[in-house]
Symmetry: C2
Subunit: 314 residues, 2 copies
């Protein structure tokens, strides 16, 4: 079973309006609700692929109940730890042109709740072969929270995929996850402290590989950098590769990185050779772009692209 960890999930609301008028009042024509948070997207994609998965993390209050109910309606197996504070909401107001986003701050997690989660996580490791740790840490969770979970997983012989950013990423890398999956912006932010503050020109392929090396220097055993329509760049103990989709897809890129993590987690579980694993990750990311919302993949796109992804040694 693949265990997905979502410490700061959300109830994602999308409001459809004609046009956003600042300081106006809008009657919302349609409301869509879905369970949000990167780890829940990973779990939803794995479940859609028929892979055994269990979603864990922290959920609180009426909003947390709603997220749990929506996950259950999708059939995604879940074992969340309850917290007293309210799970956050995100509101995306979609008009004819684009979306305007409002992100609530996360709930405050107490030391006792975090300890309870860690205990539950240790129990769940007994059934897991891979753990995917995704997204931000809510207030109250230690900044090295992912590092703690990664060390517990390693001690239990369970492999780990880390997909987060900022301080949570930097601290998490120090615990030696089997794989880190930053996107290009997250990789840039990780490197920023060491760089001159002047604007940096678009990275060359050589520079991108050098940047990715820094992730290994920080402690990860392998790194896959997701680069949007340009595919992925991987640096592992067995070699370095580029994986490039055969065509550029129009659609909704939200959740493409989570589909990538789903593929990488499955590949890590099956010890799939890196070139095949990366082809799968590129095709599944593209299939997420082709699907309407995060946490979904378009199966036809996936099966069409998979044999055509180009993976080459870098």
């Amino acid at each position: 079973m693949i265990l997905t960890v979502t410490l700061n999930p959300a109830l994602d609301l999308t409001y459809r309006v004609d046009a956003l008028v600042p300081h106006g009042t809008h009657r919302v024509a349609a409301v869509a609700e879905r369970p949000g948070g990167k780890g829940l997207n990973v779990a939803a994609v794995l479940h859609a692929l028929g892979e055994p998965v269990l979603a864990t993390g922290l959920l609180g209050g009426a909003t947390g109940h709603r997220v749990a109910a929506l996950l259950a309606a999708e059939g995604v197996p879940a074992a969340f730890v309850a917290i007293a504070d309210e799970t956050r909401r995100t509101v995306a107001v979609a008009d004819r042109d684009d979306a305007t986003g409002f992100w609530e701050p996360g709930p405050r997690v107490t030391a006792g709740e975090w300890a309870e989660f860690v205990a539950r996580f240790r129990e769940l490791l007994g059934q897991a072969s891979v753990v995917a740790l995704s997204g931000s840490l809510p207030p109250g969770v230690p900044v090295d929270g992912y590092a703690h979970l990664i060390r517990l997983a390693a001690a239990a012989g369970v492999r780990t995929v880390l997909d987060t950013s900022g301080a949570a990423l930097r601290h998490g890398l120090a615990a030696g996850p089997d794989l880190a999956k930053p996107n290009a912006a997250e990789l840039g932010a990780l490197l920023a402290p060491a760089r001159a503050p002047a604007p940096v020109p678009a990275a060359s392929a050589g520079q991108e590989m050098a940047d990715a090396t820094v992730v290994l220097d920080h402690g990860a055993r392998a790194v896959v950098v997701s680069r949007g329509p340009r595919g992925v760049l991987a640096l592992t103990g067995e070699g370095a590769w580029h994986g490039v989709p055969p065509e550029r897809l129009a659609g909704n890129p939200t959740g493409a990185g989570d589909a990538c993590v789903a593929a990488l987690s499955r590949g890590l579980r099956d010890r799939t050779p890196w070139p095949a694993l990366l082809a799968d990750a590129v095709a599944l990311s593209a299939a997420a772009v082709a699907a309407p919302g995060a946490g979904a993949v378009d199966r036809d796109t996936y099966h069409r692209l998979l044999p055509a992804v180009r993976v080459s040694a870098a």
Copy 2:
């Protein structure tokens, strides 16, 4: 006991942001949640005044649970009927200048749920002396739903205050509520079908009284028109009055009309003579403007203004 009916309550969310940027992403600095819907404001004001009150209506889903929990935290007695669909949310995004509002559509109410509510309402009438019916009707409730409830109340010897708009108001008036409380805009909309479509100049005092008469023609036994900072205009079987606050208050006018209904309901229960009742309604409305949010009144403002409200025969 005063029974307040809220068929389309809401979870009111206020998001504090620095500045609203259309098509941008906003990290919300602070989130405030409160039980919303005009009838819940009426109940909260009556409860704050120490008046026996019971809030009823329809609540559904996780959002409905949250509204019930917030009401319970305020100590407002409640007896809601559960529906399957989700109670709506409203989101107000407050920046440095003003607020931008997003109103979800109401839940869909089934015929069975409506029948269940009507049965519960009949039971609750046994303990009530006055019923206040406030706000919009959610999809699925018959457009003459308020009329049905008003007739049941009259048959049980319970007096009624109706505060709604549009078709719900027009149909409700036909059942002969003891009192209707439109604001000037709602009164205008009631009159609109009979008026020329050309722009109408600001109404004179005489025109306003003539307009109010139409509410009685529609079936109400009395009408109190709330006119914001200009106070109230009342037309009853015993006479016509203007009630005017002694000063103009700065503050938040949301919920002032609900405080007015709270005062009117209490006065109807106590058979307070109209002039004293109107003075109370004007002072309590102003006290709601002086309080930070809907459903609250500033006691000092109330007690300061009450003896100074001018009520004169119109």
